[in-house]
């Protein structure tokens, strides 16, 4: 890099010039905020009005965890480790909000599971997965426990306090996501014979991502001056 380019990157708070390997689509929420801020620029660019929190950096971190295939109990439609790489957050940045989004490809209300209720649980993982091990130790007291009857396109969970813990790499062990059919076996005999797969709605699961808002006080001097 030329000295000028290094200086310019540094002034933008970037230690190096990013060299992305894959160009993920821009999350709609970021594109909307970006467009809204283009004209006129916000009074305070160190606050994210859309979430009403301080912040001048908004990142959408892709989930890097894997599916867990245990097969038991059959009422468990989906079990997945969620892991978000927090190394992108720079030292001195203050995390002010973290919102987990679980996306499905469409709103699904599967006729065969009419009235069927799903149970979603999020657990704090207690260890990183070891190669070849299928057991995933996790804290059995769920961080989130929610039931829903209709698979919405997107489910949002506020994980700000949990995510603050993840700033320390040794504490960033991720989460375990479980979605189960509430209280029954996942496969029921249909009146016409054969099996109803009550979990089929969950097949619409697409991915999980974490929207993280943080504030870099160094780049928000004006705010500091105001304060």
């Amino acid at each position: 890099l030329s000295p000028q380019e290094s200086m310019l990157l540094k002034s933008l708070g970037l230690a190096t010039k990013p060299s992305p390997r894959s160009l993920a689509p821009v999350p709609p929420v970021l594109w909307r905020i970006f467009q809204k801020r283009a004209v006129p620029p916000p009074e305070d660019s160190c606050r994210v009005e859309e979430f009403n929190v301080p912040g001048n950096i908004i990142r959408v971190l892709a989930d890097q965890g894997r599916f867990i295939h245990r097969g038991e109990p059959r009422s468990l439609c989906l079990e997945k480790r969620l892991y978000f790489n927090f190394s992108a957050l720079e030292e001195g940045e203050q995390l002010t909000m973290a919102q987990l989004e679980i996306k499905f490809s469409h709103n699904a209300y599967h006729a065969s599971s009419a009235g069927q209720v799903f149970e979603l649980n999020l657990y704090r993982a207690l260890q990183m997965p070891l190669r070849g091990m299928s057991s995933h130790m996790y804290n059995h007291r769920p961080l989130v426990a929610q039931s829903f009857a209709r698979v919405h396109k997107s489910l949002l969970f506020n994980l700000t306090e949990v995510a603050k813990d993840w700033r320390a790499p040794s504490r960033n062990l991720g989460l375990i996501l479980e979605i189960a059919v509430d209280g029954v076996d996942g496969m029921l005999a249909s009146p016409a014979g054969g099996l109803w797969n009550l979990c089929s709605s969950i097949d619409a699961f697409v991915d999980a991502s974490l929207l993280v808002v943080s504030l870099n006080p160094q780049q928000c001097k004006a705010t500091r001056k105001k304060r």
Binding site: G13, S19, W31, F34, S45, R59
Partner: protein, 113 residues
């Protein structure tokens, strides 16, 4: 791209157009948007007497007076940005995350002495 097209033909202290093109600095593969932006810069004279539209400080008024009396000894006041705007940049970081970042004081809106 730096080119000199004064907004009003005058050598008084005013914003001058400066467009920063991110592809010019070879950043187009990691910056998603914008492709560039109008940063502008300040250029021009701060002559005696300073008129109101030159956004001058009291000290600048004093300095132009001294300059008019002793041009060799005391320079004119500087023409500097007095009102700036932020910009937002959408980009990919090294972990392929999409980042929206806001930067304060990136566009010169007004200049003053």
């Amino acid at each position: 791209n730096s080119y000199y097209t004064p907004i009003t033909p005058s050598n008084l202290c005013k914003p001058r157009r400066l467009y920063i093109s991110f592809s010019d600095v070879g950043w187009e593969n990691w910056i998603i948007a914008p492709q560039g932006y109008m940063a502008n810069y300040c250029l021009g004279e701060c002559p005696f007497p300073l008129t109101a539209e030159l956004n001058s400080t009291n000290h600048a008024i004093l300095q132009t007076m001294v300059h008019s009396l002793d041009p060799e000894g005391t320079p004119q006041p500087c023409c500097v940005p007095v009102r700036l705007s932020p910009i937002s940049i959408l980009y990919y970081d090294n972990n392929d995350n999409v980042v929206l970042r806001h930067y304060e004081d990136m566009v010169v809106d007004e200049c003053g002495c």
